[in-house]
Subunit: 417 residues, 2 copies
């Protein structure tokens, strides 16, 4: 059987893993610097290729938002290069000894952090992900096979070409970064089923993309991103604090996954303060969709339908539900949450403790906005995505989350009796 | 749509996770003790049900080996109960604070170990896995949905019944342990695709079962077990040590996954010592299948075919290949290994270092038998299986590997600017 182009590229990436695994930190940093410099040097060329994508997008009439995400500028390229420089400042996690134990028979068991191997990245729109993901992969000694969206085809090809060329003058093999250029749907399928060549698939994009990958990938997946996040305003919530947090979590950047989508309000608090809270939200341009009880208290609220409790609006729309107890809030979050970020606002420490233990999510907040779920905010320095699954990594994934470990056992002839 | 029985059971298990997550260690230990006691008390009943499976097995003519694995005795039940008592002695990993950091804005981010949630376990033959897996799950605050093989149907039903009944008098919900009794192939399919209800699938059994789960599961999988393990005898290997280790790794227990299947021998060492090594192996009843160079040195060796390099014999058969260099050995392991356990035998420390970094496997040994890859040997106290994938857990999986983590963020009204 003839090998497909996708498998050939995955094989090329795979062939680089042994060399990548033994690199020293300074060699990896030198390569990142070389890529950053090359991006600046080739700015004109990259922008010309980006123009082709923008022109093609205009022809098929893509949205203004998508056009914005797709657009590269001199400033954006400089920011991407700066991101690579910052990556050099972060400590290299590879080689870290996580545990060490000596058995009675004298065997020394060392648990050492190693690269994952070959990462398959399937993502939409933004060409900056091409550079960010390649940088994070190389810093952690991983090879990466990139599959961007076809709308960013020329931009991604230009960026990958610049990366590969920059690597030729470094200790890193240029084969470590591959771009799957084939436009067919089958190419994605092949990437997701290249067990033995690809060690992990990371999807980044909308719910449709992520669902497709979860359903169809036979390679292990790091599921990222859908955030139907809740704020629970407890009966013991401070009124001003609740207003500030709800407004921030909803309006600071509504299009991102850590923005709030539903507010659950304890009945007692709602009776005194919900109208005022919703008035403040309306002033910020937020459309309120309430349950029947909420609507009786908030004249401007539209009626929420069953679908609203499961919708990630990513927009200035907020579902509001009045609940009779903390337990009812926990049930609602269990049934409708996406295991991303959930917050309780309360002055009652016992209620906060119950919330922490009762909510099954990557990040659980007490008296803070869900907007902090972010690798940068958490101090990771960089982020490949936010995991909403429970295996391997949960929440923001930085450099450490792009590694595995290996047991290295040092003996002197031990055999098992 | 009417809910299937499998989804109903997964839903029952799911409904117990919040209660399980907040249990204290002594409550979990008390439940394990109650199960152990109940197993002893109900020995007669369990053995009678086991008889039914053995009779059915005899009718369809199962192998002696399978009959042995299926058979329960008073002694084996006592050992299973003792395993639960031992589990009580191990520290409870849940609630452990893995990291703590305070941000400049005063937010305190705590990374806390939590249960995975609901584990789906798909396994073959041995009914003791039913009790072992349930014990490990409960000790770590997880619910578990068990799907044993139909050949152990009555035994598994009896054991699960005893577990559930024992739990009624404890702080743990009896719904936390479920058995999928439906005999249809579709039941396994449903379990593997119950995303949202099941958090992780762990398959334990032969290569066929594991491949099916990897191919068809949409729930994240912890792949366990196939071990095509190699021993590389370097040119600087001590002759006596090499003989002891090769014999141990091949013959101590050939049917398990950490047994050696292929020995790679450096040409220089082979020329002086391979004949003697193979004579010692033959005396232990090991059939040798060699490459052409090996056959020229070892008269009793049969010819190895291409398939031999990829075969997990699980039997007293050993493939032997002469290589010209450490690099050639590394290439062979990269192409034919299953990322389980690999060993180098050498007095050359530099060669050992190259081997450690160049081999992509869960456990890499220098001058020791691969037979040590085992949760008990590694000091984990218990083991749910040996992972051959790189996400989440690698190598022997004990209690810690049955957990996830959660970020708990303590604030005082922080919002993102």
């Amino acid at each position: 059987m003839e090998q497909s182009d996708v498998r050939k590229k995955a094989g090329l990436a795979r062939s680089s893993v042994r060399q990548l695994a033994r690199l020293e930190e300074k060699e990896k940093n030198a390569a990142l610097e070389a890529i950053a410099d090359a991006m600046i040097r080739h700015t004109g060329e990259i922008l010309r290729e980006n123009e082709k994508d923008l022109a093609a997008g205009e022809t098929v009439g893509i949205s203004a938002a998508l056009t914005d995400r797709l657009t590269l500028t001199e400033k954006r390229l400089a920011e991407m290069a700066e991101g690579l420089h910052q990556l050099c400042q972060l400590p290299d996690p590879i080689g870290e000894v996580l545990e060490m134990r000596e058995l009675e028979n004298g065997l020394q068991i060392e648990k050492v952090r190693v690269p994952l191997g070959v990462i398959g990245m399937i993502y939409e729109a933004r060409p900056n992900v091409t550079v960010d993901a390649a940088g994070l992969a190389l810093k952690t000694g991983n090879a990466i096979v990139l599959r961007g969206s076809s709308s960013a085809f020329h931009s991604n090809r230009a960026l990958t070409g610049v990366i590969q060329q920059a690597l030729t003058n470094t200790a890193l093999p240029p084969t470590a970064v591959q771009l799957v250029e084939e436009r067919e749907r089958e190419a994605v399928q092949e990437l997701m089923t290249a067990n033995g060549l690809i060690d992990v698939i990371i999807p980044r994009g909308g719910a449709g993309l992520i669902q497709r990958v979860v359903q169809e990938s036979t390679v292990p997946v790091l599921e990222t991103g859908v955030g139907n996040c809740h704020l629970y305003v407890d009966q013991a919530a401070d009124v001003d604090m609740a207003r500030e947090i709800v407004i921030n979590a909803k309006t600071d950047r509504p299009a991102v996954c850590n923005a709030a989508e539903t507010v659950l309000v304890h009945r007692k608090w709602a009776e005194s303060h919900l109208a005022e809270l919703c008035e403040a939200l309306s002033k910020c341009g937020v459309e309120i969709r309430g349950c029947d009880v909420a609507r009786a208290l908030v004249p401007q609220a539209k009626a929420a339908t069953a679908d609203d409790w499961d919708t990630e609006y990513l927009d200035l729309v907020l579902a509001v539900k009045v609940v009779n107890s903390l337990a009812e809030a926990l049930d609602h979050i269990e049934n409708h949450g996406t295991r991303h970020s959930e917050a309780i606002i309360t002055q009652d420490e016992e209620a906060a403790r119950t919330f922490f233990i009762g909510v099954d999510a990557a990040a659980v907040y007490h008296n803070a906005s869900t907007r902090f779920t972010d690798g940068g905010q958490f101090g990771f320095g960089a982020e490949i995505g936010i995991s909403t699954q429970k295996l391997h990594a949960r929440g923001p994934m930085g450099l450490k989350e792009m590694t595995s470990y290996q047991y290295r056992i040092h003996g002197s002839g031990q055999i098992r009796g």
